[in-house]
Symmetry: D3
Subunit: 298 residues, 6 copies
Amino acid sequence: MSDASGKDGKRALAEEWLRKAHLLSEALPFMQRYAGKTIVVKYGGNAMLDAEACRNFARDVVLLHHSGLRPVVVHGGAPQIESMLERLGIDSGFADGLRISDAQTVEVAEMVLSGKISKQLAACLNRVGGAGVGISGKDANLVRARKIRHSKDLGFVGEPEEINTSVVVALLNEGMIPVVAPIGIDEDGNTYNINADTMAGSLAAALNATRLLLLTDVSGVLDEKGKLIEEVSLAQAGHLLEQDGIIEGGMIPKLKTAMNAVESGVEAAAILDGRVRHALLLELLTAHGAGTLVREVR
Amino acid sequence: MSDASGKDGKRALAEEWLRKAHLLSEALPFMQRYAGKTIVVKYGGNAMLDAEACRNFARDVVLLHHSGLRPVVVHGGAPQIESMLERLGIDSGFADGLRISDAQTVEVAEMVLSGKISKQLAACLNRVGGAGVGISGKDANLVRARKIRHSKDLGFVGEPEEINTSVVVALLNEGMIPVVAPIGIDEDGNTYNINADTMAGSLAAALNATRLLLLTDVSGVLDEKGKLIEEVSLAQAGHLLEQDGIIEGGMIPKLKTAMNAVESGVEAAAILDGRVRHALLLELLTAHGAGTLVREVR
Amino acid sequence: MSDASGKDGKRALAEEWLRKAHLLSEALPFMQRYAGKTIVVKYGGNAMLDAEACRNFARDVVLLHHSGLRPVVVHGGAPQIESMLERLGIDSGFADGLRISDAQTVEVAEMVLSGKISKQLAACLNRVGGAGVGISGKDANLVRARKIRHSKDLGFVGEPEEINTSVVVALLNEGMIPVVAPIGIDEDGNTYNINADTMAGSLAAALNATRLLLLTDVSGVLDEKGKLIEEVSLAQAGHLLEQDGIIEGGMIPKLKTAMNAVESGVEAAAILDGRVRHALLLELLTAHGAGTLVREVR
Amino acid sequence: MSDASGKDGKRALAEEWLRKAHLLSEALPFMQRYAGKTIVVKYGGNAMLDAEACRNFARDVVLLHHSGLRPVVVHGGAPQIESMLERLGIDSGFADGLRISDAQTVEVAEMVLSGKISKQLAACLNRVGGAGVGISGKDANLVRARKIRHSKDLGFVGEPEEINTSVVVALLNEGMIPVVAPIGIDEDGNTYNINADTMAGSLAAALNATRLLLLTDVSGVLDEKGKLIEEVSLAQAGHLLEQDGIIEGGMIPKLKTAMNAVESGVEAAAILDGRVRHALLLELLTAHGAGTLVREVR
Amino acid sequence: MSDASGKDGKRALAEEWLRKAHLLSEALPFMQRYAGKTIVVKYGGNAMLDAEACRNFARDVVLLHHSGLRPVVVHGGAPQIESMLERLGIDSGFADGLRISDAQTVEVAEMVLSGKISKQLAACLNRVGGAGVGISGKDANLVRARKIRHSKDLGFVGEPEEINTSVVVALLNEGMIPVVAPIGIDEDGNTYNINADTMAGSLAAALNATRLLLLTDVSGVLDEKGKLIEEVSLAQAGHLLEQDGIIEGGMIPKLKTAMNAVESGVEAAAILDGRVRHALLLELLTAHGAGTLVREVR
Amino acid sequence: MSDASGKDGKRALAEEWLRKAHLLSEALPFMQRYAGKTIVVKYGGNAMLDAEACRNFARDVVLLHHSGLRPVVVHGGAPQIESMLERLGIDSGFADGLRISDAQTVEVAEMVLSGKISKQLAACLNRVGGAGVGISGKDANLVRARKIRHSKDLGFVGEPEEINTSVVVALLNEGMIPVVAPIGIDEDGNTYNINADTMAGSLAAALNATRLLLLTDVSGVLDEKGKLIEEVSLAQAGHLLEQDGIIEGGMIPKLKTAMNAVESGVEAAAILDGRVRHALLLELLTAHGAGTLVREVR
């Protein structure tokens, strides 16, 4: 290699670094906007299956924490629960396509969610320098649950009835990152499995969070032509739900959860594509979003 | 019932209440001695199987908390782990009579300990008005573990190598009661099952606790005539261990754990009979002990 | 003594201790109910004459303090004042059966109350491990008094006109137990002797206390058949006072003081039988009361 | 009155005010020197007899408090005690010219000191806008006393053995002014009368005060020609005491008390002429002293 | 000098000191009235020219600080700016008798005010033991300014539009004395010179100050006979302004500034004669005022 | 544009954003390393002349602040001072090539530094959302200076003799960014112009800073072949200085300043190329440095 090309190489390298520094610099207005604000992130169980993705997610959460935000993680765990139920030969049946959670099922669900996934996520955060603490709705009376109303008896499938945020706030104030398993308990001591999106939404409302971020494995809400809708008002979202065949399947409850959170005082809720690396940073620290944002008004 | 006997009945009842009030009054010097002190209690997995006993234990812990002490609970869970391993058809074998913990086994152990027992105990404390929070050694880097040294490879059976008490202290300062599952993690992210007595002892030392209380299902340490030894110095305990046939079986590591804790700065460690109702209150708030106390000097 | 009977004796002894621990355990819901609450206790001068009773009272107050309550003691001292007036040959006369307090009399009353009884009670609390501090209405402007309105001139007999609780709150916040002598001062610097029940009631109202406890030397409020009334609403108490011949003598002002306190925001006021040992603990930490409780509604 | 003289009068008046403001201004360096420092002042019982003097003293103390100092007042009360003993016909006798304090005598002394004088001084401070609180050595274990050693048995005449400053510090931190009666208590609960100078000296040492000021009714320490000594080192003071006939009578223990305080860490101790109006202000806030200052070295 | 006259001299000297101490004592009620209150003082640029006067002013401000008040100083600097403009040969012209501030002029004004006078005043305060900090309206967004409305274009002459007191409050809370240069900045980053009286008035209103003190070089507001008006209500002041020929020249805007401040919630505003030594002390710590006081009602 | 290329364009855009988010993510370990650490940055007067560069610098400083660091800026101003001296026709002469600062010169230097540049930089920080406060060594006794020792009399050219960091620490604790003009004051009140590098170094040492960053307009320290030296130990730097002809001109004092700071306890000092955009971010938040780093040992 000639001197000249060596110099060129060096210059190119330096240019690269300058671009990097400049990109950092562009994050400033976003860090300022969210300084001291609480952000509730729902992280799916599927995503946990990929160790690399999980590590990246953890790094992003810890970066948000270091940038002055107060992140709270709520996680799911459907595939891990399914797999454990299978290993145990438990088949509690379905009603209207929804899994029925009998006592055995909810026992397994709790163990997997609170005993495996929460702690794995917390450990993941700790390995990248955070201080994650895995808790569930049973800790310090975080979530009092009730059975969800449904035409069939789904067993111990619940929804939050009352939320006592003291343990979450205490951990945030101590510079720790709460990782919450979607488990609740009723007044008789029964355990309930709660949909993780619902749990995240209720927690965001109770914490008066600035953002609810639902990480999914699709691009976001799509319009009738299959194009991503980047932002909708509450009214527009309601209109979309009323029209046949636009919002379908699992996106319906997700969109409703986002809308409920906004109606309960969360500034905005986003349905993000969790498959995109650094989706959280894109959404919170850059001008580019990573899915569909729901606000009161556009 | 005649008037006279009615009056007598009333008088008797009143007498009963006065005795009760008097007994309360006798707890004062003990409440004063332990005001603001940290007490680490090891609660066995067997004890968890009896719901009534568990509720009583929770009430005692919350009473200690209200009396100005700072209780921390570490729990075991051997029978629950055994039962789940059996349901899953996992048999990882034994070495020298000790169970080998392969990856599958420690995964189950963690789920049972962190996901089921910790949360059950926390919920139990909450039902009687406490604010229990179930954590494990993975939360906020509480316990960095290493494989225990043994002639055979026991797999993921560990011991604490370094303890970072920040999450425990944060919860205590917020008026909450930490419930700790004996799980640790090494620098490579491997999970270890830790003996609950050992975990409690290490935590007591790291917290500079005033008491380590190991609840067992025997009366305490017995002498060669089978009589309970109420108190021993470190030297006496060492002497007992050296003599053949006095201290045997599971009592040997328990006594060593108690001794280690005292050598590491815990004021005293007691091996208590957990089958006795209110053993904690007897030991801490009355003049009567409930087992064997180990101190530096008698 | 045979081995058998020895064992029986030991067993009996152990049983006794277990009962004791169980009784302690029963105090928990009461400790929870009153945690952090202010309790104003009026302790009579007569009771001070019995050193043993006084020590027991002090132990109970310190126990309440250690159980998380914030006790404030207001004391009387009529017999001690009488005795000192006699020794000094002061006889200021009576009007309508009430003692007239001329300048000499109130000077003696103050010395006895602030200089002897307050300090004796504080010392009593200190000997059992509390931190009692004897203050009077003159300290840090605690009580601005005015002459009570009465058909005859009773001299320097006063009632609280304005209460500045700063010194009481400061001492409570520092973990100390205020012991208050019922002395007030007017804007011209005149000293007034205040009825201790009245003083306790006014202080309880100003502190927004949860309980006003008036310790007396009778069983409580009795109905027309001489039976103890365990609880009355404000309305019922008013009705009792209107009926002739039921509430008589010294019980009339006591009941009125209790009612006034409740009307001013104190949650409940009790007229207790101070002759009963541990009357405070019975009333506050057990399911059994020790006199008559006045609440807004039953 | 002509215009001219009117103008002159006005001008003179204005001049007068300007002089006043200038004098205030001269206090600045002194306020700076003592900002945040603790000053223990011994105020004699004689001085209390003159209401006007007492009000002036109170104003000076409150001014010191407002100027950023932390004043603590210890008072005597010999003439008031004498007078009360006389009224009660108590004559406990003398030994070597010192009054013997039998049980009756010390009871009266305590009532007069703690019940009358402390409260009167506190009220005096309050009337000029301070927040005085009258306490004695019995409050919150302030002074544990022991009998003074003397060739004859003087009864309950004591000296401080151990000082627990918590109540004094708590009051100072709350912006209040402690007024301390020189009464102590031993471990058996016996009450002791303590010399007020001794009490002030011990308290100044325990509080690590910057100044101990002993207000007396003489000019200060005089030399052999009767001239006031404005300042002495410890060594010089020791020398003066050794010489015959210079320091005599009551000045001997006063000088020793001042010396002891300085030896125990108080920066300087002064014996001031309390008959001089505003002696405290002169000593602390002007360049002019008001008696004899004792320091470690001149 | 004979002994006698020597004694007389000493006595006279002592008398002098006693008078001094007495005068200090008279400041107490004033120190009490203003304890913890914020006082905004406008100090003119002319006054800065006399080093001795400036030192005296600094001493007075530090004395106020030590007496428990929270003083804030706003200063002018017209003569210093004029002189610097002259040295630089800048003559931006006048409109209606008001100086036009073009870009060059305001640049010089800022340098002189923020770079010379603020720092000189801060240093002055520091030399007498205070902790002065020179800031301007540019620091921490203290003053957002807008161009003043005037029939002619006066260039960069502004008035406060929005005040963010955070830096002033932070410095006061840390025991420091803010010294504020009357410079503001608009949203486009343009610098504005603000009239120092206006700046002081706006700052006093934003800080909810107890006093606004405008130091001038006249006696105060005079009535039609040239006699000083010691106090006026808002209504009276309005009436005075409406009458021809009473209030004239520079006193008109001063009086309006004082009135505006009072209308905005400042308890009272005074126009003081800054030529009088210790005018601040006279006004705040003695019964004698030093100019004209404006209150809502007399 | 065809659909396909449209998609490609979108994909490319998305890719771009993902790269951006990834780069942000890479800053995490650096944010963690410097969390809560104090960083002193010297910013040159030359750099201030370019408004765009200045805005970029301000953004970087505020980004550091939001990332959890505690930045302090010290600035120079030679060209601005020169220009003002010229406008005023002041020519105080030179000695050994160094400008002599007579009274007139230092007066101008102070006005320019404290009154113009500090405030301009503070305003710059504020416009991008920070809270900059311009102070100088005169504020709250920040820098007591003395005349530098030199063979010729350079007039009022000084160096820090004693630093009182209270105002800097107070502002940092309140979330503000101190901007410090290199001006000091001696005990007689004389003002000194201090070299900005020297000032930054002394302040870094007094604050026990983690980094001293000297922004220059060269690449850093070059070796004998003109190649940038990226890191040197103290010993190596000393060796470089001893060799003839390697380190020359203005780089000599800069390197000495860096070395002094490290010897006084600053963890490392860097001489950075301030012409590089985002040099601060490169140095502190990326793996790439931007000049020469001096540490105790490599």
